[in-house]
């Protein structure tokens, strides 16, 4: 019997320990969850580890901007606290972590959650709980397009489809007889780009002579590019994240091939172009678009927005200032703070969502001059302007004026 008692005691200890981990039941909902007289609680999920960990720095850059704003007295006297959870780019982890943000941490809103699949996995949940899912860090069209059915969700960056429509326009204007080969990443990102291009070309979609997909886990897209070359394409679209894009630029030169190249904006920061050049890419006839200032571009060296960015990012010890993802983070955090400032005393989720979706009209110091972050009751795509840029051998040259794609995506 003595042994049994010992066992029971052990079990009891186990139960007590588990119970202690459990914590207290959630308190009743408030109208302004996450807001106190001197604080605003925001939360995010990002990939701090795993295959997409390169994006993780975005969350840290956002936090650096909030720290900067807090240092200046916060938003109308309230300091922003930013909870960052690591979902390793896996939707199965995004779901419990987002529930934790909403039900346990009681955030006011989720902000800049990363990844199309990840944010899709929690969209229904956040909308049913009426928690703002603001400025998701993905260019998938659905997050702005389907605002009417998901009125608590909103994207920020220009949608991928909008970008490739700009390329389509450029093709039709400047290369109407192009033979187009497309290299695209076999995920929502690459497929969205491809759709935009096909839609944008419309009746001229037959200009696409070949399209080749590759998986993000592949070591190199060499085989696909060799196929595009064999299909006699004279214009190549690279819808790829930075690493395969740089590899592609190198491989194209190695194949003694000189097509006109359209490079998606995600991969056009100068550090990647420099890496491609170092590895032997010729970088002739490369076109891309841009909406954000590139921290490595010398033309912004004395720009006040860029200097402000450098000050802000210096407070984040793990952030590399040259990393384009960091200025993205600071820029989107700027918009978030702008929305919160406008909400003023009416700090409700509903009001904040209303401003973000319908009444935004902002000049963001970290975006290219002339680009507006703007929403209206008829159009919820925040950024729909981009500028065509071409590579001049040492840097990007802005071409023509800003192209406005507003209204093309419905």
């Amino acid at each position: 019997m003595g042994r049994n008692a010992a066992r029971l005691a052990a079990v009891a200890a186990f139960l007590v320990t588990l119970g202690a981990c459990g914590g207290s039941p959630a308190p009743a909902a408030q109208t302004d969850v996450g807001i106190t007289s001197n604080s605003i609680l925001l939360g995010t999920t990002n990939a701090l580890s795993g295959p997409a960990a390169a994006y993780g720095t975005i969350a840290n850059a956002e936090n650096a901007y909030f720290t900067y704003i807090n240092g200046q007295g916060g938003v109308n006297g309230r300091k922003i606290t930013f909870k960052i959870y690591d979902d390793a780019y896996n939707p199965a982890q995004t779901v419990p972590l987002t529930k934790q943000l909403v039900e346990q941490d009681q955030v006011f809103a989720t902000f800049s959650g990363l990844g199309t699949q990840d944010q899709t996995s929690v969209r229904d949940y956040l909308n049913s709980k009426k928690v703002p899912q603001l400025f998701v860090a993905t260019g998938a069209t659905t997050f702005n397009k389907d605002f009417s059915s998901n009125p608590w969700t909103l994207g920020w960056q220009p949608p991928y489809q909008g970008e490739s429509r700009i390329y389509a326009k450029d093709i039709l204007q400047n290369h109407p007889n192009a033979k187009i080969g497309v290299l695209y990443q076999n995920d929502d990102y690459g497929q969205d780009y491809l759709k935009g291009l096909t839609d944008g070309l419309g009746a001229s979609a037959s200009l696409i002579v070949d399209k080749e997909s590759f998986d993000v886990t592949a070591a190199s897209p060499a085989a696909q590019l060799a196929k595009l070359k064999a299909a006699n394409a004279d214009t190549v679209f690279l819808f790829a994240t930075p690493k395969p894009a740089v590899q592609s630029l190198v491989i194209i030169t190695a194949l003694h091939w000189t097509p006109t190249i359209y490079l998606n904006s995600v991969s056009n920061p100068q550090i990647y172009m420099a890496a491609a050049k170092k590895n032997g890419a010729a970088l002739a006839n490369v076109t891309s678009v841009s909406y954000i200032k590139d921290p490595t571009d010398p033309q912004w060296a004395s720009d006040s927005g860029m200097q402000q960015y450098k000050t802000i990012i210096a407070s984040c010890s793990t952030c590399k200032p040259d990393d384009g993802f960091n200025i993205y983070g600071v820029a989107v955090a700027y918009t978030m703070v702008d929305v919160l400032k406008q909400a003023g005393t009416n700090m409700t989720r509903k009001n904040v969502m209303d401003i973000a979706a319908n009444r935004l009209n902002e000049t963001n110091p970290f975006l290219l001059p002339g680009i507006k972050v703007k929403t209206a009751s008829s159009d919820h795509f925040a950024i729909m302007q981009e500028q065509v840029i071409t590579w001049n051998g040492t840097g990007w040259t802005l071409q023509g004026s800003i192209i406005d794609e507003r209204g093309t995506l419905k």
């Binding site: 390169a54 076999n186 997909s213 998986d215 592949a218 070591a219 190199s220 420099a274 032997g280 990393d323």
Partner: protein, 293 residues
Amino acid sequence: MQAFLQQVVSGIAIGGIFASLALALVLIYNAMGLVNFAQGEMAMLATFVAYALISRGMSYWIAFPVTLVLAFGGGVVIQRVVIRPVERAPILTLVIITLGLATLLNGLAGFMFGYVPRSFPSAFSAQTIDLLGVFISYRDLGVIVVSGLVLLAVYLLLQHTTVGLTLRAAAHHPEASRLLGVQVSWMLGLGWGLAAAVGAVSGIMVAPILLLEPNMMQSIIIYAFAAAVLGGIESPLGAVVGGLTVGVTVNLAGAYIPFVGGDLQLAVGLAIIIVVLIIRPNGLFGRAATRRV
């Protein structure tokens, strides 16, 4: 025809990359009958060490050997600290340890160097050779040539030196070796050191092609496993032949089997390997294993 040859040649080029890492896997397997899941991450970290040295102004040709020595030391340290305590544990425990090590090293590299892909200098020019309209760069050739040299060195070491003999004896007959006065545990340490150094060569060779970042080796480790297995896991020559075979097969499958396309390359390559294994369970170059009872 030209397009076909170009696919074969780019397959050989990428196959050289697989082979170079597969060699390190084979070494570890020979040294302790273990598949090291952290091999790729160890190679990646060593390459970052070389990167740090070079970016601090050290010349490439000095940084290269220094990195190899450091990688060797790192391999020995890992064996002494992490592997030795579980030397006699079941193989599964060792597998889990190497998986944990892979996670740890990956996170560590991300913490220390960030995730931005970087260009890494190469000993070989990025120029290409034109073989009747089929192109291959000196870099790709360099990887294959260096893999060949490493293969030769590993072969000579394992087959024609006392150290190599002792190493293999310690791996396969630890008890008997111990009786003969072999410091089995230190031989295992030596094996880890060598594998780490071979991995470092692989990392330094492929970094200019794959771009240096913490996940650099993750895209090729599975192919390297496939290459090593196809060649029969114990055979260094098998690893190289296996690597090239996998590279070419995967490329051709992607290009010429319509259903496959670019994105299912890996699946087809692996399916082929599994079929080969079912027909020849010890790989192309493996000897029939004696069944342990």
